[in-house]
Symmetry: C2
Subunit: 208 residues, 2 copies
DNA sequence: CTATATAAAAATGTATACATTTTTCATAAG
DNA sequence: CTTATGAAAAATGTATACATTTTTATATAG
């Protein structure tokens, strides 16, 4: 497991206090490696939004920021329905079946952590998006997702939402299966909008 | 001047053949530094789209790709009018004046290179966008611009377009000055759409 | 002649050591 | 008491050296 992955996992788990400044030396010692791989990991995590630059020197763990989430979901709202609509004409039975399998796993597998649910969630949408064969658009959407990952620990707290979300997934998939791309796009827009609103509201309440 | 900047400049100038693979050792020797700063620069340039991963190891200079440009402009089309509309209510006279100054510089200063025109172009729009005070949305839009930078050398070739572009800039600014945010957004959408179409067409013809 | 296995070479990943910059803290001047 | 100054400490940037992985080229079997 690479240092990048270990560091990211520990950031996900909240092992580092938001607002604290991370020092290469400390991290190197903590993970038992030299500073070179630490530098690589920090730079990458910074470019993915897991860390923010801290003045001229060093990086800091960003605080949870409702405004950031608002922007991220605003962008996803504009880009993901577009991408899904571009994908719709290329959706084969195989791909739709794969998407259905993922939904099933989310329902049958017990005791999934928030991170695991989030991962499956993304797999579902990404599996559909990939059919569009638009690497650049896909890459940006994927990056927005990565930036959202940081907050999914929160999203799962209000767990009854999981039912709503799953129902929306089925509606989207059904629309795509009957070839109604624009309906699927509208449903996806609602899906993202709902998730975003919930998360923003939760953050506003939690970080007060 | 950092190695990152030097490398980026040389990539801009087409000093490295598209499709060629860049090796840390060669670059280190060429620029007279060790491989450590080279690694940092490569990773950053890769995350900004100036370079692409090449298999398991190494990075390559991406070829010019009309589909990439198409996606980039599609995203800008969806995000920039939104950002400008969010900025509109916060546009002070000072900011509008600054924007006007930039337009004037583009017209009066003679013999601007393609890169310089591109930089001023971005300064104009960014100056307006920043007023929205939406750091996350702004950062993504900025990143899309950076990814487009790679192609602006091409854009300038069809130089008569510069007039059209400048006229559009004035129209956008005028709409904002009279407080008509939605008209400004529509104009911006056309502005981006025009630029994108032109660039894509040019690339399709040039890379045939 | 083609394909596969293996060894040599080359490229990247990582550790240690050194250089430079930034920050901190104590001291002294106002 | 506040502020400025400067030296010490700490953190980051970079070079060199070594380890590991990947690629390439060669030789041998089919």
């Amino acid at each position: 497991m690479s240092l990048y992955q270990r560091l990211k996992r520990d950031l996900q788990r909240g092992r580092f206090a938001p607002g604290s400044v991370l020092k290469q030396t400390e991290l190197a010692e903590h993970y038992g490696v030299s500073r070179i791989p630490v530098r690589d990991a920090l730079q990458r995590l910074k470019s993915e939004g897991w860390l923010t630059g801290h003045g001229k020197r060093g990086v800091a763990v960003p605080r949870f920021d409702a405004r950031e989430v608002e922007d991220l979901y605003l962008m996803r709202l504009r880009l993901e329905p577009l991408l899904q609509e571009l994908a719709a004409p290329h959706l084969s039975g195989e791909i739709l079946g794969r998407a259905r399998d993922i939904l099933q796993r989310m329902e049958t597998e017990p005791a999934l952590t928030a991170a695991e649910i989030g991962a499956l969630n993304w797999q579902f949408h990404a599996c559909l998006y990939r059919a569009a064969d638009r690497p650049t658009l896909f890459a940006t959407v994927e990056q927005l997702h990565r930036q959202c990952e940081r907050y999914i620990g929160y999203q799962s707290r209000s767990l009854d939402y999981q039912d709503t979300s799953q129902r929306e997934h089925h509606e989207i998939l059904a629309a795509l299966e009957r070839g109604d791309a624009s309906a699927a796009a509208r449903l996806l827009e609602q899906h993202i909008g709902n998730a975003g609103r919930l998360l923003v509201d939760y953050l506003r309440a939690a970080t007060r």
